[in-house]
Amino acid sequence: MRVYLFGFASDDFLGRVIVTPDQRTVAQLADQLVAWGQAPERGGPLTVRNEAGDILDPAATIRVAGLGNGDIFTVERR
């Protein structure tokens, strides 16, 4: 199922909408957000958190990680 999420990369200046199948992994979701942002070429490991601040397993699917329509996630470069 496709879901729409609001992603916030730590080195960006606003939130961006990501529409994606919820079978993709959290790591793929983070890569997609960073690719849309201001510094896609910077590289480096990413940490993904939900609105509550919990770190999400990068190997988990979006659905298993508990993200659904309208949810926020943040991506930080380590």
Binding site: G15, V17, W36, G70, I72
Partner: protein, 493 residues
């Protein structure tokens, strides 16, 4: 013998009577006259500080119009654009589109108070206020029309409020809330006390000072003249607020003030903050947006709150923090989404960056690298590589992009309600939404509409949906102009 003014003025102002065919509640229904509903006894002492007769009003307005039109006539039409900085022209285009027809909505608000205000002196003041607001629409329309021959996008002075352009939808969302869907009491607090007493100084007096330095004297006269009207009818707010506080409605009054302060701040950082610091030429900037906000808006607001023994809004610390950053973040949003605007947007040059860093010591460290990157991208791959193609997350209250206060400092939050999850740029926006969820919950942001298939997702079609004719009307880089790449029929490739 002719009566002296003070001998008859109260007779003209205070013409309340006791209704015999309907009761007072039917004449002034709570739904539109406002809460708390009080008998007229509570409103009997409603008095404005500076009284005006209709005769004085007409004479003053005639003089003010003559002053504006005199400057317009002196600067004959072929010379209207002479000496105007290109960035300043875009600032005026932005201002006109966002403000001219909002004033018309202000006339509706004043007329509502002219009928449903609870004391006749209030209603008289509001009648003059309605005439003011009509004037505030007509003059920008006239000036905007003069500029059409030089730049076709000045038709957005009239057109903007009839479109689905996203920034205009954000402005309309606020003005509908504040002006069109408010009762007389809420209007007096929100429009007169907060918006006019608090914020219009910024858009009109600060802009007039800048217009003088930018040598745009028609605009200077126009906005300064408008503010003199605002200062008069803004007086409505104080006696209404006083009556509320005297009759046990302190909590309601505080809520209306807090709510509208935040909502106005959101609009003004987008409209005035970005325009003053990225479109006004350096030679026109005598103060920063933050300095204007501090000296002209917040200090006055603090005095007003102290006068009524009211509290600072609970989100004050966040507001103070945002003064240093929020409009700079929004400028990056405007720049990277410029093809969705009706005016051109500037990338700050070296001298402007030095000025910004002088006024905001964290500016270069926070935003410098982001602008450097856009510059490098343009040089490497042209304009196409400097635009954002994904959708920005829009706040379900203010309708503006969910900006960071600064990179790495994100205040976005959500709420689940009625099976739908709503996004907000900040806690104050969510708080306002929660207080009046039935008022706001059914509204869909532009992004909500795109996701639901109610608005096109393809950029070229979205331009049309927003009323923008691409590429001629869509915003460009101020200094680089129309990139030939824009003539590509499929710019989303």
């Amino acid at each position: 013998m002719v009566l002296r003014r003070d001998d008859w003025l109260d007779l003209a102002r205070k013409v309340d009577w006791t209704p015999r065919y309907v009761d007072e509640r039917e004449l002034f229904p709570e739904e539109i006259s406002g809460r708390p509903w009080l008998t007229h006894d509570a409103w009997r002492n409603w008095n404005e500080a500076y009284r005006t007769t209709y005769r004085e009003y007409v004479a003053n307005q005639r003089d003010k119009d003559a002053a504006v039109l005199g400057v317009r006539a002196a600067l004959t039409k072929p010379r209207l654009f002479d000496d105007l900085d290109p960035g300043w022209v875009q600032l005026v285009k932005f201002h006109n589109g966002a403000v001219a027809l909002a004033e018309y909505a202000g006339a509706v608000a004043e007329l509502r108070m002219a009928r449903f205000g609870r004391d006749s002196a209030w209603r008289t003041m509001a009648s003059l206020g309605a005439l003011d607001e009509i004037r505030h629409t007509q003059i920008p329309l006239l000036i905007g029309h003069d500029l059409l021959a030089h730049d076709g996008n000045f038709d957005w002075t009239h057109k903007a409020f009839h479109t689905n352009q996203w920034l205009i939808l954000a402005a309309r969302h606020l003005f509908d809330d504040m002006f069109l869907a408010a009762d007389a009491i809420d209007l007096a607090i929100q429009l007169n006390f907060v918006f006019e007493t608090g914020f219009t100084n910024l858009q009109f007096m600060a802009m007039a000072a800048m217009a003088d330095r930018a040598h745009h004297h028609v605009f200077e006269k126009t906005v300064a003249s408008i503010q003199t009207d605002e200062a008069r009818h803004a007086q409505i707010g104080h006696p209404v607020l006083r009556t509320l506080l005297e009759n046990g409605s302190r909590e309601r009054a505080q809520y209306l003030i807090d709510k509208m302060w935040w909502r106005c701040w959101r609009l003004f950082l987008a409209l005035s903050g970005t325009a003053m610091e990225y479109l006004a030429p350096l030679s026109a900037r005598n103060r920063s947006f933050k300095e204007f906000m501090t000296e002209w808006v917040t200090e006055q607001f603090m005095k007003n709150l102290a006068e009524f023994d009211l509290e600072k809004p609970w989100f004050w610390d966040l507001f103070i923090e945002e003064l240093d950053y929020a409009h700079h973040s929004l400028q990056l949003g405007l720049y990277t989404y410029r093809t969705t605007l009706w005016f051109d947007v500037a990338m700050p040059d070296r001298a402007e960056r030095a000025w910004l860093n002088e006024k905001y010591p964290q500016w270069e460290e926070t935003y410098g690298a982001l602008w450097d990157q856009l510059e490098l991208r343009w040089e490497a791959d042209g304009e196409a590589n400097t635009l954002a193609y994904g959708l920005p997350a829009l706040c379900n209250l203010c309708q503006l992009p969910a900006l960071f206060i600064r990179p790495g400092r994100n205040t976005a939050c959500t709420i689940e309600m009625g099976g739908r999850r709503y996004l907000f740029c900040s806690e104050p926006c969510r708080w306002i939404f929660e207080q009046e969820s039935s008022r706001f919950a059914d509204h869909n942001s532009v992004v909500d509409r795109i996701v639901a298939g109610e608005a096109p997702g393809k950029l070229t079609e979205l331009h049309r949906w927003m009323g923008l004719q691409a590429p001629v009307e869509t915003g460009k880089d101020l200094r680089r102009g129309l990139d030939p790449w824009r003539l590509d029929p499929v710019p989303t490739a």
